[in-house]
Symmetry: C2
Amino acid sequence: MIYPKKLETIIEFYKKLPGIGEKSAERMALATLDLPKDEIENVSKDLVDAKNTLGPCSICGHITDKEICDICSSETRNKNIICVLEDYKSVFSFEKAGNFKGVYHVLGGLISPTEGIGYEDINLPSLLSRVEKLENPELILALKSNIEGETTTLFIKKILEDKNVIISRLSYGIPMGADIDYMDTITLDKAIEDRKQISDNK
Amino acid sequence: MIYPKKLETIIEFYKKLPGIGEKSAERMALATLDLPKDEIENVSKDLVDAKNTLGPCSICGHITDKEICDICSSETRNKNIICVLEDYKSVFSFEKAGNFKGVYHVLGGLISPTEGIGYEDINLPSLLSRVEKLENPELILALKSNIEGETTTLFIKKILEDKNVIISRLSYGIPMGADIDYMDTITLDKAIEDRKQISDNK
């Protein structure tokens, strides 16, 4: 083994992160050792703290260090417009784009009959109870354009068809099959702007 | 601020590592949170442990978790051939190339009159005392081809000219000004093979 064992474990850790190959992980691990001791101790504590203190917002499911996230507790956000996402990571992408002034709902997954993931396995019941409390709710579905995303979209549309809910989905400004997290901010803004209503309610 | 504070500190940490920009750091931090809690606790401990337990080999200055590194304590390495490097990171590059069977000496810097770094500020005294104990020593200087590297090379050549030491430098298979850590293994092997003697001793 070329590297001391402790260094090897850090390399193995970095290799688990997205986009990091063997060579990058090695260089990162060596660079980590060059950092001052107190900085390493701090980040080591931060890593554990972050994992322990960050959890889902009790309203929308977005990651937060509070009971209710900053977006849900903001006075300036329009609580009637809910953007529905699979993953909280996409919330950060929309927030960076910066033009969406509604709120979010993080499903934490998509309906997948093949993988046995149903309506109650993701945060859909909580979405429905949120919608029911609103007077003129509008849902913007920002889900992947694959089978699971389409299935979930159709399910939401069907289960809400008797309610007075405007449902739209993101415009296909987003390339088919691509990961929302990778989109540039202009494409995301465009996709919100060109959202396409799919419910029959006007 | 878009990210919770604890997440922000992890992003800032990753941004300090080589080759990691804003976007990569964000994705890495989010991916880190997705790892199991025990894994995060382990790596957190490993980071501090690595910083605390890894230090220079008392003979060659290479990084190790022991008093004397595996290379210096190996029975199969030729202790008479010492490859002299600026940085211990380069040791890993040569070890990966895998064909060099001598030992190393890590200077931990280069002589730089402009920055006031002299002979005693780097691990040159310990190199000389190593060389004096050997019967037929050979030094391979694997230093950068910049002014500091050339200065250090000339200094070593001059200070050893009365001793019976064969001194060579890496062949210029390595591109001028490039970082040794980035070299591919074939170039590194070639550079060891084509090393060029610069002392007058035959």
